[in-house]
Subunit: 281 residues, 2 copies
């Protein structure tokens, strides 16, 4: 399994990936799941991958040389040469190239994998910026189709996403500052690491500031990283303090503030079977 | 789907269940998933159910009349009449009766369900106390086998369990006070309700105090319940405050406290592909 998260907010983008790959509990390895495709001062593209490792490694490799026919403004295909991630003028086209790459890998390996009883699965988060265009982030599915992050849904997760979702849902909005989003991604990762053995260190974290077409905020986080250690030590404690600040339930229905024991206006009391011979009706 | 949680701590037990049943997004209904089997001053047994509704309703119905052969101390089966939930002298035997009930329902319906392409799935949390014995809690699987909660793992979840697990993991220990555990179960449910449409109100909450063989702390919580509304309004805010109290990441590697940007001692920097013709090696 895997846990990767990509956050797309006004100030920039945050990418975070774990590095555990497993084929059973006794066969775990470390493979990094983030890769950057960069053309200085022209484009900066980040990809995170989850799924079958042989598939996602092939996709990473082939993505940089994949091309799709260009659709010209006149509707004549092929004008201007094929479209690649290095000459595309929009991130939408880069996502099309990635979709095509996924389909090509599926064409090569999908049938054999299926015969071996293995699902073809690869989910990818693709984010980046091309000079002259806004930053964009996409989630690419195993069929090569994709969706784009919006202001209403400013993040994508792939892999083991559920444990770390509540904190993202509650904290990330388009106006969240960039470093705060990075902190939130790390807290989300911490919850996932605690719950699922198939997600593991080291992490790769990349923070991209809007418009820069580059990033020097890239760090590989292992268990000696001071900041992540602080989060792991602190968040549970802070969570407990927040929890303690919430009133305990009051079973006194005359409690003026927020009694727990009130009769539901719509629902009957829960069913109790007190007599061994009573039938449920 | 469903979300139910049972917590077994020193002071007592907490049971919480949602009530949404769905067969597709456009076919949702309300079915309560908690039931109490009670013999005053003798035994108090609570069951929570998840899975196919037709299966779990049959299990609920048949559980109260199910019997298994008694194994006498001399190893002669049948002495003293068959064992039921009403005459069992240990919760372990009650769990055996429940396992037998599950297998009986599977015997009746499993093959037809399988032919219809429907999984036989029923997961059950069973907790209770019989006079003279300690409280015990079990998780019963679709095959009728079961495990028991321990001090190391003092809670069970069934259904859509992942969203609400981190908060239980971090907050529940055997010495947690009973009302605090109830509050924690409600926070865990709140996270799940926010994330998954297949979990819905009303909730049934039951708090059992060790040794009482009864409970008057039973409440059906709908969206007008003052305490649960307070939790839904407050927890997100408290979580945000706790999050804000954690230091933002420091990209200054000379930061004396806990810099984020430090070079990993073990791992290379993340891979960047800067040249269109570079090959991944």
């Amino acid at each position: 399994m895997t846990y990767c998260v990509g956050i797309h907010i006004d100030a920039g983008m945050v990418f975070l990936s774990d590095s555990r790959t497993n084929a059973g509990l006794d066969q775990i390895s470390t493979f990094r799941k983030m890769i950057v495709y960069e053309k200085p001062n022209d484009r900066f593209i980040v990809m995170l991958s989850a799924g079958n490792l042989s598939v996602s490694q092939s996709v990473r490799e082939m993505f940089q040389v994949e091309s799709v026919p260009r659709e010209s403004e006149q509707g004549e295909p092929g004008v201007g040469g094929p479209l690649t991630i290095w000459n595309a003028t929009s991130m939408f086209d880069v996502a099309r190239v990635l979709g095509s790459t996924v389909r090509r890998v599926k064409h090569d390996h999908g049938e054999s994998l299926q015969k071996a009883g293995i699902d073809f699965n690869a989910s990818l988060i693709l984010g980046g910026q091309i000079k002259g265009e806004a930053m964009r982030m996409f989630l690419v599915y195993p069929a090569g189709n994709f969706i784009e992050a919006t202001r209403e849904t400013p993040y994508f997760q792939i892999g083991e996403s559920k444990y770390g979702k509540p904190v993202l849902d509650r904290l990330i909005v388009p106006t969240t500052p960039l470093d705060t989003a990075a902190k939130c991604a790390l807290v989300s990762m911490d919850s996932t690491l605690k719950a699922n053995l198939s997600v593991g260190l080291p992490l790769d974290l990349l923070v991209y500031r809007e418009g820069t077409l580059a990033s020097d905020r890239i760090v590989c986080i292992d268990d000696s990283n001071p900041y992540f250690r602080m989060i792991r030590d602190t968040w549970g404690q802070r969570l407990r303090e927040a929890f303690d600040e919430i009133d305990e339930p009051s079973w006194d229905s005359s409690d003026a503030r927020h009694p727990l024991r009130v009769k539901s206006e719509r629902y009957a009391p829960m069913r109790k079977i007190a007599n061994p011979n009573e039938k449920i009706v």
